[in-house]
């Protein structure tokens, strides 16, 4: 089984979000980048298939050279090889077209992604990719098993969960639950050493167009100060929630 894991490279969750003076671009100064947390669940599951079922795991990312440490980290965690498509990812449509090309060249059986990138929050790359390739798609996956060419996937639906079977090839967008939090891998010294020798190929992007364009960013308006209520006076809280906030 060949698995392609799509990796998004995002600011660490503790990052303060700032923009350039024109408010047109995210300011990366002083920002630590990490593997998108949802993709980490997907990658860890892929490595489980590698260890238990002999799968080969390739990670792929669309981004410029500055993103390579993120790919090396994926290799250190256990991916077999990495592909970087050398282009600035200008929108989800563009990214999905690039990934579709890699899929077609590699004859993969399974594409794993995160359900959303925590920076631009597009929540579209996996669905677009599945649709471009005309293969089935499971979103918000919380458990995935593969038996031969059949996948069994549990996904979150509104107010519950649903379990599907599907034939490979398949696109699965994962999230927490796909593996346990405690099983997420931290690269160790040996992994980091081995990662240096693993192949990381750089490929040129194919011709593709973006269909959206971010013009300007804004930060949420500053909040008014919090009204403090005495712990012995919960009646006041109820009164405020009822008459002022009008939420109960």
């Amino acid at each position: 089984m060949k698995i392609l894991v799509c990796i998004s490279h995002v600011p660490d969750t503790t990052s303060k979000i700032n923009f350039n003076n024109e408010l047109t671009e995210f300011d990366t100064n002083g920002v630590q980048f990490v593997i998108n947390p949802y993709d980490e669940f997907a990658l860890t599951r892929a490595i489980w298939f590698q260890e238990k079922q002999g799968a080969k795991v390739t990670v792929v990312h669309v981004g410029d050279a500055s993103t390579e440490p993120t790919l090396r980290k994926c290799l250190a965690i256990g991916a077999d090889d990495a592909i970087r498509i050398d282009a600035v990812p200008t929108d989800g449509f563009f990214v999905a077209q690039q990934l579709a090309e890699i899929y077609k060249q590699g004859e993969y059986d399974l594409i794993l992604t995160g359900k959303e990138s925590i920076d631009y929050n597009g929540a579209m790359v996996p669905g677009l990719l599945a649709s471009f390739l005309d293969i089935d798609f499971v979103n918000a996956c919380i458990s995935l098993e593969i038996d031969g060419t059949t996948a069994t996937a549990e996904t979150e639906i509104d107010g519950g969960t649903e379990t599907f079977t599907a034939n490979l090839p398949l696109v699965v967008a994962g999230q927490k639950g796909l593996v346990e939090e405690k099983d997420l891998k931290i690269p160790n010294m040996r992994g980091i050493m081995m990662a240096r020798k693993k192949p990381l190929s750089i490929v040129a992007p194919v011709e593709a167009t973006a269909v959206t364009e971010i013009e300007r960013f804004e930060k949420p308006a500053q909040k008014a100060a919090c009204k403090m209520i005495d712990a012995n006076d919960v009646d006041q809280l109820i009164e405020l929630l009822h008459n002022e906030a009008k939420v109960i």
């Binding site: 925590i118 929050n121 579209m124 677009l128 005495d230 009822h242 939420v247």
Partner: protein, 317 residues
């Protein structure tokens, strides 16, 4: 030309979030001066959509469809109705169907949109980015646009009309996806649907103390939620984890009990309209993001609050 909106149902009834999505789509159709076509899925009474401005109702009745079948059906209707804008809500089904439609229609898709377009030419929407830490004005450059509406960002607006109703057969498509089982959290309110969410953090010390959260949620008719470490430790199910890497919350009222207010937690719950924080530590960062705060011990404050709320509910019933 038309605006198309997906009106999904739960057990035959339109959810509040669906009516919000339809109201929002109506506002766009008004801006564009085009008709609003609502695709109604398995409704027992689709005429309800007329109250929210649908000019045409396309009625689909079908056994459960998977995301690909939904997308094929909506794509076909969008083509037949010459739709230039397709609107879905950002719930579980909308999230998985919207990108599939966008790919089929070669349309730009923006999810998590929070307001009516600020401009129609070029078509520009405002959406959440960076998990709610910022908003981005985004132009959609393609001829057809697909929009996902963030929950609780527009509201329900009544606009009575008279609609024509036609029946439509779900479109066939090749798919190997087969549903084997559905497991509904029966009797529990889903976080995504809840007007009020009551959430507990690590400060509650152990799993059994979450009865406090459940009791408070029960009086308020609220959904229960928790911080990440609480679900990591198995005190509560993963489905209750809210925040940047868990479920987003955009409730009218969010009550955080014994949660410190880490940046990742706040990112996911900030979109809630009113936030109440109960914490022993006056320096807890959550107070800076809250509307109302009580510095106090949850084990004393919450039982009192439950008791007083019961009295309040009895009086205002």
């Amino acid at each position: 030309m038309s605006v198309l909106v997906f009106a999904d149902t739960s057990e035959g009834i339109y959810k509040k979030s669906t009516l919000e999505t339809v109201s929002y789509a109506k506002a766009i159709s008004d801006l564009l001066g085009s008709e609003l076509v609502a695709v109604s899925m398995n409704a027992t009474d689709n005429t309800a959509l007329q109250n929210y401005g649908a000019n045409q109702i396309v009625n689909v009745q079908s056994a459960s469809l998977n995301n690909k079948q939904y997308a094929a059906t909506l794509t076909q209707i969008a083509k037949e109705k010459n739709s230039t804008v397709v609107v879905l809500g950002n719930n579980a089904i909308g999230n998985s169907v919207a990108p599939l439609i966008a790919a089929q229609l070669k349309a730009g898709y923006t999810s998590n949109v929070v307001a009516v377009p600020i401009n129609t030419a070029p078509f520009t929407v405002v959406r959440k980015n960076f998990s709610g830490k910022a908003f981005g004005q985004t132009q959609i450059l393609s001829e057809v646009k697909v929009i996902g509406l963030a929950k609780n960002s527009f509201g329900i607006v009544e606009k009575p009309t008279t609609a024509t109703v036609t029946d439509f057969q779900a479109t066939e498509t090749n798919t190997t996806l087969a549903s084997v089982s559905v497991d509904k959290n029966s009797g529990k309110i889903a976080i995504a649907d809840a007007d009020i969410v009551v959430s507990g953090g690590r400060g509650l010390k152990e799993a059994s103390n979450f009865s406090l959260i459940e009791d408070l949620a029960e009086v308020l008719g609220a959904a229960t939620a928790c911080s990440k470490p609480v679900s990591d430790m198995g005190w509560r199910p993963h489905s209750e984890h809210v925040g940047q890497t868990g479920k987003p919350v955009a409730a009218n009222l969010y009550i955080a009990v014994a949660i410190s207010g880490a940046i990742q937690h706040l990112a996911g719950v900030n979109a809630s309209k009113t936030k109440v924080v109960i914490n022993t530590d006056p320096e807890a960062p959550f107070f800076k993001a809250a509307d109302y705060g009580i510095v106090g011990d949850a084990f004393e404050v919450v039982p009192k609050l439950i008791e007083k709320l019961k009295a309040f509910k009895a009086e205002n019933a």
